[in-house]
């Protein structure tokens, strides 16, 4: 699976015109030759591919073409924790706000408690993160002065980027949770629970909860992959030294190894995330477990 991915990206990147060492000024041929020899770029493509795969198996993603003397592994080791923290915060924010507001809305449909979160979530679905981000900066950083406009030093620097990243997915989670709970609350077994004299709270959290969050759970994998993409923009807006910013830059710079390495890493993360979602699904729905 990852191998297919590596192969596709490898050839896609290599077959494209232009190289990492194209600059405005022509480089003297002998220097170029030296550089190419250093990175094995002078050998036939299949040989390069073989080398790359062999390194990959050992967990070595190769040297960066653009950042001299640094390997892709080093760059990832340095930037991934930042991105992971951002992504996780964004995801948790989206999940918690989304589920809570969706549950609130479903507990009293067609009331103010339903219309307000759903209206907001509709706005959230339609607001691209690259608009939300600057707006949040304008209001909370420039006008109110609560946060820094950019950077990643203080704990408070995490707030605005995580919000920006999470809002759209909070909106999706909210809508899915509402639909999920409304659907469950209309099932016969909820009537059974009521007829047993259970309290509204117990019915909601004990009888409706698992089934209600299922639709939102299935969206978890997609949300994670959306958050990965969103982090590219958010890290750019807030000037955060994370993996996403490096990915965009390396793609622009044709830093082959960094592009492939990052793409592979993201794919691995998403595969793991999908596995987590599958496990969560099995935990929530016993019917899947026994099939």
């Amino acid at each position: 699976m990852l191998w297919i991915l590596a192969t596709i990206t490898f050839f896609m990147v290599r077959c494209a015109p232009g190289g990492p060492f194209d600059t405005d000024k022509p480089i003297p041929p002998e220097i170029l030759k030296n550089i190419q020899a250093k990175y094995n770029l002078d050998q036939p493509m299949l040989v390069q591919y073989g080398h790359y795969l062999a390194d990959l198996v050992r967990g070595d993603l190769g040297p960066s073409f653009r950042y001299a003397n640094r390997t892709v592994n080093e760059i990832i080791a340095e930037t991934l924790p930042v991105s992971a923290q951002l992504g996780l915060l964004g995801f948790l924010f989206a999940l918690s706000i989304g589920l809570i507001s969706g549950m609130l809305a479903s507990s009293k449909p067609n009331s103010l408690r339903d219309y307000v979160p759903m209206g907001l979530s509709l706005l959230g679905v339609c607001m691209p993160s690259f608009v939300i981000g600057p707006l949040l900066v304008l209001v909370f950083a420039l006008w109110l002065g609560w946060f820094n406009t950019s950077g990643w030093e203080e704990a408070s620097d995490r707030v605005l980027p995580a919000l920006t990243l999470g809002i759209m997915y909070a909106a999706y989670f909210s809508r899915l949770a509402r639909v999920g709970f409304l659907d469950i609350l209309h099932q016969d077994f909820i009537k059974t629970a009521k007829a047993k004299g259970l309290s509204a709270g117990r019915i909601f959290f004990r009888h409706a909860f698992k089934g209600g969050v299922l639709p939102a759970t299935t969206f978890g994998g997609l949300a994670m992959s959306g958050i990965v993409c969103g982090s590219l923009v958010v890290e750019t807006i807030f000037n955060i030294p994370g993996l996403g910013r490096f990915f965009v830059q390396s793609a622009m710079n044709r830093d082959y190894t960094l592009v492939i390495g990052t793409a592979l890493l993201y794919a691995t993360l998403l595969l793991i995330m999908n596995l987590v979602v599958d496990i969560a699904y099995v935990y929530l729905d016993p019917r899947v477990r026994h099939d």
């Binding site: 077994f189 009537k191 007829a195 047993k196 004299g197 009888h207 698992k210 729905d285």
Partner: protein
């Protein structure tokens, strides 16, 4: 002694299309240890009427417009939600039609079965579990001690209905309401569940309300029978009176449409027409448009229940025999 005394219950649904008079004038008395059968076709308001008693109709659009339901002298319809909760499940338990959808697929049987006890008694967890297993044995579920930890989808339809019954019996309620308990089951399973209900009734002395459109079920279980049509109680009486001396033309039509082994039929007779739209009910008898004995007065005046002198037998018809 009467455990439940319902008088002039009216439950309406306020929809965009108009007011649906789902239950319009409904009264009955349930005696201790007796079984009352409520018969009617789909949409006649039989489920809504009992659900109204326990506050189980969705509000809005539903609303209980009038009536009184005295359970041991207290009016259920006047109770607050928290007071009602102490009655539901503990004093009055319900079994629903479809055992496939009435059990929560996400929770273990043990949880669903015993949570009523956690709610209404101060038993410990192990006592609750023991009581759960006891009840599952009572309704004839084999290997109850291990199966109690399974999920609903691991049970067959008939077994699930047994679980539902066990769930209803677990608190030793005064009244058991069974809403079409056999409708969703295979014929052979239906018979087993009916046997079980008859058997349980003999063992545990409680009052039962059984709702069905199946006169066969009623014949096996009920002491008294109540016939509903379009939200109205059209006839009520002892089971024998209803089956052998039906007064209302609707009841007569229902009985005629039953297949009988002792008579040869070319074709089963049916009642012409279809049930009325409850929004568009006019004055006059609700059954008038389909009634073979319709007269001018039937279209103009809503009949009042008429008592037969001999017994507790009433029919809501201008033309019932003794009138």
């Amino acid at each position: 002694m009467a455990v439940l005394d319902v008088k002039n219950l009216k439950t309406y649904f306020y929809t965009r299309e108009g007011v649906v008079k789902a239950v319009d004038d409904f009264s009955f008395t349930l005696e201790m240890g007796m079984t009352l059968g409520i018969v009617g076709e789909s949409g006649s308001g039989k489920s809504v009427s009992v659900c109204s008693l326990l506050g189980l109709i969705p509000k809005p659009p539903g609303r209980i417009v009038a009536g009184q339901a005295l359970y041991r002298g207290n009016d259920l319809l006047q109770m607050s939600e928290s007071q009602l909760r102490r009655v539901r499940g503990k004093k009055i338990a319900m079994i629903f039609q479809d055992p496939m959808t009435s059990l929560n697929p996400y929770l273990r049987i043990a949880t669903q079965l015993t949570e009523v006890l956690a709610m209404h008694t101060d038993m410990t967890a192990s006592q609750r579990l023991a009581r759960g297993i006891e009840c599952m044995n009572l309704v004839g579920i084999p290997n109850a001690a291990s199966r109690i930890h399974d999920y609903p989808h691991q049970f067959s339809g008939g077994m699930r209905q047994r679980v539902m019954i066990a769930m209803a019996l677990i608190t030793d309620p005064d009244i058991l309401i069974a809403d079409e308990p056999t409708t969703a089951l295979d014929v052979t399973i239906q018979a087993q569940i009916l046997d079980l209900l008859v058997d349980l009734q003999r063992k545990i002395r409680m009052s039962v309300i059984i709702i069905t459109h199946d006169l066969g079920v009623i014949a096996r279980l009920s002491d008294r029978v109540l016939i509903m049509y379009a939200g109205n109680k059209v006839e009520e009486g002892a089971a024998d009176d209803i089956f052998y001396r039906p007064q209302h033309p609707y009841t007569q039509g229902l009985l005629r449409s039953l297949p009988r082994l002792d008579v040869e039929h070319e074709e089963l007779p049916s009642i012409a027409g279809s049930p009325p739209d409850l929004v568009l009910l006019k004055q006059g008898c609700v059954f008038a448009p389909r009634c073979p004995q319709r007269q001018a007065v039937c279209v103009e005046d809503r009949p009042i229940p008429i008592k037969r002198a001999s017994s507790q037998h009433t029919a809501k018809c201008h033309w019932s025999a003794d009138a």
